[in-house]
Assembly symmetry: D2
Homo-oligomer: 121 residues x 4
Amino acid sequence: MSDPFKQLHLAMNQFAAERDWDQFHSPKNLAMALTVEAAELQECFQWLTEAQSKDLDEAQLAAVRDEIADVQLYLIRLAGKLGVDIEQACWEKMEKNAKKYPAEQVKGSAKKYTHYENGDV
Amino acid sequence: MSDPFKQLHLAMNQFAAERDWDQFHSPKNLAMALTVEAAELQECFQWLTEAQSKDLDEAQLAAVRDEIADVQLYLIRLAGKLGVDIEQACWEKMEKNAKKYPAEQVKGSAKKYTHYENGDV
Amino acid sequence: MSDPFKQLHLAMNQFAAERDWDQFHSPKNLAMALTVEAAELQECFQWLTEAQSKDLDEAQLAAVRDEIADVQLYLIRLAGKLGVDIEQACWEKMEKNAKKYPAEQVKGSAKKYTHYENGDV
Amino acid sequence: MSDPFKQLHLAMNQFAAERDWDQFHSPKNLAMALTVEAAELQECFQWLTEAQSKDLDEAQLAAVRDEIADVQLYLIRLAGKLGVDIEQACWEKMEKNAKKYPAEQVKGSAKKYTHYENGDV
């Protein structure tokens, strides 16, 4: 039973190599492409209300699923180029987030952590 | 041996529940937050040349790692809210990409697939 | 009688020249920077409801004003590097939009124009 | 003697009113749409080298011109909804930028101002 991140990473490598696309895949360019896909994902929601965004029809969900995949694939490709272990990076970031946003302190508030660092409540 | 996507999904759910943050996490808002993080990731590269982007120093790599994690975490959270299986969506999208961009046809070219659909070479 | 676009364009040129920043201001990099600023602008709104976004307090409005300026400045700088007349481009695009979205046809609907091109209503 | 910002603002208002689109144009949604257009603009450059981005052919330039217009139009629409004077915001931001990035101090360096605030050189 393999790690999905690793399997997709290998598949992406082969896909790019077969098409001689490595020349275009500098980390800079991959970061640009990832942001473009993230924007295409959010475009699915831009005229929907928050309530409508929770209740997508089949066509909308299919479009969103494709864009989620596009973002994930570029993220794996970019991380691969830089030798970043995405899973490990996530667990480390979740630890940092737990310290930045202690549950008792931020419960129910969306304020950014700098707000709390300044002593405001 | 568990699926990393699932483990992170459960951890994110608990993190948000402990902070009473579900109220802010409509798919629309999560898609916005994800794009913001993708832009923070690309900000790490915006003044670097493509060559420099392949050769990050320790501090730059640490910053990039955190932003990669931020994007991944929001992607897992958004997919979770919509019931999208990210791994499955990725394999399906890779299949579609293989058809859109047949290796013999697109080798060495970064042109978008609509270019090929129009019969241009 | 001055054109604000032109005045800001000249001021931006001088600002960058004084700091020897032209080396970083390829159109590619400027487009990246502009997207980063657009994301910082939308970050001001990401956890607000649509209703709250219509009723910003003083601090929120000040932050939004700065980000609007950042987007505008990079847009002027990018257009200047490419010899694009922003004002003229806007009037031309509005003409195209009027044809893509005839008022009688799209009244009250946010569907994208390809939806109408396919004959759906 | 007209102000281009004001003329475009009025034209955009009429365009949206004729189509009954104000219902979709909360500042939150407009900020999302603006970021989506900024990403479409950067998509024009994502696989180009910095050098290629300075030397666009006719078709590439036409595409870029349309996307520059899309960003500008949404920026004017968003600013209009919030009562923000874009031109004034730009001049104020340029003043702040001149203080954040004194020419003698930052000449030739793309480091972010926080780097300088920390006393590094």
